[in-house]
């Protein structure tokens, strides 16, 4: 697939939570500069491109480092402190590397009524981690999430960019097994 994106959607690519190349600078290639220009062309000022660029950093690095924030601050002519104050407001921006599989279990009201706390417990137990932390091998991060907008399909679980619906504690093992290849890499 060509990486050349229509400007209307250049700033709205879903995050890839799996880390790809954490050391690459954000705007070092022609492709990335094209992307930057496409995003900037959609807003009347530079500041408005901040969320799309934070999203872009996370898309290519899996998380947003202070180096990324400095780079973004520079291209948008903002201070790094301002960029940090915005990035810290939003829960989806990972300020630390996350596990390869970021598992978010909704425990909000409709899921709660359908046994979500037990689903969360089951994920924690089977991955052997505690809420909010990443397993030693870097495979899993398990989080308690707020409503995922799938309340009619409780319990809703989001794993990276996919939704799993109607999850029960019994289905957890099967879901975990499906995440990695046969060798469990």
């Amino acid at each position: 697939m060509s990486r050349r994106l229509h400007p209307a959607v250049a700033g709205a690519q879903p995050f890839q939570l799996a880390e790809r190349d954490p050391d690459a600078p954000l705007f070092d290639s022609e492709e990335s500069r094209e992307r930057l220009e496409a995003i900037l062309s959609r807003y009347p000022n530079k500041r408005a491109a901040l969320l799309p660029l934070l999203g872009y950093a996370q898309e290519i690095h899996g998380w947003i480092s202070t180096g990324d924030m400095e780079e973004i601050a520079e291209v948008l002519e903002l201070t790094p402190a301002y960029v940090w104050s915005v990035a810290s407001f939003y829960t989806m921006y990972n300020k630390h590397p996350a596990g390869r599989h970021m598992i978010q279990v909704c425990t909000n009201i409709s899921c709660h009524l359908n046994g979500a706390p037990r689903v969360l417990e089951e994920f924690l137990e089977q991955t052997g981690t505690v809420e909010g932390e990443t397993t030693q091998d870097g495979r899993f991060t398990v989080l308690e999430a707020e409503c995922l907008g799938a309340c009619g399909f409780a319990t809703a679980v989001q794993i990276n960019d996919e939704y799993h619906e109607n999850v029960t504690p019994e289905k957890v093992a099967e879901i975990l097994a499906s995440l990695d290849g046969p060798q469990g890499v």
Binding site: A8, G11, A12, L51, V86, S110, C147, C151, G152
Partner: protein, 429 residues
């Protein structure tokens, strides 16, 4: 999948007719289903004519507040002195609501068409669709549809070769419920924290990038093409005088058949719960319902004969909100449920107003204490007190949102709170 409740889709559905048909996602599939005909009609109309049809249809905003859409559009200056913007609010995060996601994932072109027509009515040159960042699969579908609409000339410099131009940009959020509040959304769109601002100025005076702006919900905009195509009298063929049309009902909680159902406004709430959704599982009884989502007041099992219009639910002491009934059956407990709701609002408070930031956190703490058996009778008075302090004193109504379920749960289910109170040490007699 539970889309239309009755089988006669052709005659009773506007929004959900093509849900469940993957072909309807593509431009070709959409054109085969009559897509973009309403837009062709709209580009031949004057902006004010479009606004008038929508005004006459009585369509009310589906984002929660129910404000008449045509009237909102008419607040936009008719002689622009600079750019105008339309923001489509696709940040859907109210617990209980999951309709906008369904509209976008099955019929993205319906939303896009509604956006372009609305942009013409309010004289906007640019539409931003602000989509909740978590909706990855939906964002992919929407992006694809937007690119197709550009390629086919429904967006761009000359919409349907009319000479009138309109751009549309998909903008994604990053996990903040408060970005759904309209001024929070605009703060976020401008590259800031999603902090709401005090109104006035209203968005139609001074909105995003300092320009006149209209913010509309996805479902509101998706209702527009049908109205423009078929006229206001057609739309008024459903619903009541004050609540015309159909509405997506997002039904969740303890239900046999939860899901999204497009229903004419005005069915009895009991019918939606028992007949449309099959009632609670295993023949259990309903204990309580939050009829319009997590920020509306509880109704008890005896209060379900009200009709599901804006006015009907208001008379019943609650609200239509996002039309997202959350059903609690007899096995559910009110206090933990209320604690979970409060915890959400505490987590999502943007922190600008002291009452909201501190109040929602205290409420959660007290509820947790009661839930864990450590409450004291005077806690209930403190909770009532906090309800008073959180009402009508903050920049936005997030703070009020927690008060509606909380106060009603205290009024109607006091016995459940009292049953959990710490037993005072028994005094030997």
């Amino acid at each position: 999948m539970a889309y239309p409740y009755r089988d006669d889709r052709e005659t009773t559905t506007i929004l959900s007719r093509h849900m469940g048909e993957p072909e309807a996602r593509s431009l070709n599939g959409w054109l085969e289903r009559g897509g973009y005909e309403a837009l062709r009609k709209a580009v031949a109309m004057e902006p004010d004519e479009i606004t008038d049809v929508v005004k006459e249809s009585g369509l009310r905003g589906r984002g929660g507040a129910g404000f008449p859409t045509g009237m909102k559009w008419s607040f936009m200056p008719s002689e622009p002195s600079g750019p105008h913007y339309l923001c489509a609010n696709a940040d859907e995060s109210e617990p209980g609501a999951f309709k906008d996601r369904e509209i976008m994932r099955w019929t993205p072109h319906l939303l896009i068409e509604g956006c372009i027509i609305a942009a013409r009515a309010i004289r906007a040159q640019h539409v931003y669709i602000y989509v909740r960042g978590e909706f990855f699969p939906v964002i992919r579908i929407l992006n694809q549809a937007v690119v197709e609409a550009y390629e086919a000339g429904y967006l761009g410099e000359s919409v349907c070769e009319s000479g009138w131009g309109c751009d549309l940009t998909v903008h994604i959020g990053a996990g903040a419920y408060i970005a759904g509040e309209e001024t929070g959304l605009m703060s976020s769109l401008m590259g800031g924290r999603a902090e709401p601002w005090m109104k006035p100025p209203f968005p139609a005076q001074r909105g995003v990038f300092g320009a006149p702006t209209t913010v509309n919900n996805v479902e509101t905009l998706a209702s527009v093409p049908g109205i423009v195509m078929n006229g206001s009298a057609w739309y008024r063929g459903w619903g009541s005088e004050k609540s015309p049309g159909t509405k997506m009902w997002c039904c969740s909680g303890n239900l046999t058949k939860p899901g999204n159902y497009e229903l004419e406004l005005g069915l009895p709430l009991r019918e939606i719960i028992d007949e449309v959704c099959g009632g609670p599982p295993e023949g259990r009884k309903v204990k309580a319902v939050l009829p319009g989502g997590s920020s509306t007041a509880f109704l008890t099992a005896d209060e379900l004969d009200c009709v599901t219009t804006y006015e009907g639910l208001q008379e019943a002491g609650s609200a239509l909100g996002t039309a997202s009934p959350i059903v609690l059956d007899e096995t559910a407990e009110i206090v933990p449920a209320m604690r979970r709701i409060a915890q959400f609002y505490a987590h999502e408070s943007c922190g600008q107003c002291v009452q909201c930031r501190e109040g929602t956190a205290w409420i959660t703490k007290i509820l947790r204490r009661i839930e864990e058996g450590d409450g004291e009778p005077r806690d209930l008075e403190t909770l009532y007190d906090l309800c008073d302090q959180l009402t009508g004193r903050t920049i936005c109504v997030l703070a009020d949102s927690v008060v509606f379920p909380l106060r009603s749960s205290l009024d109607k289910f006091r016995h459940e709170y009292e049953a959990l109170m710490r037993r005072s040490p028994t005094v030997a007699t």
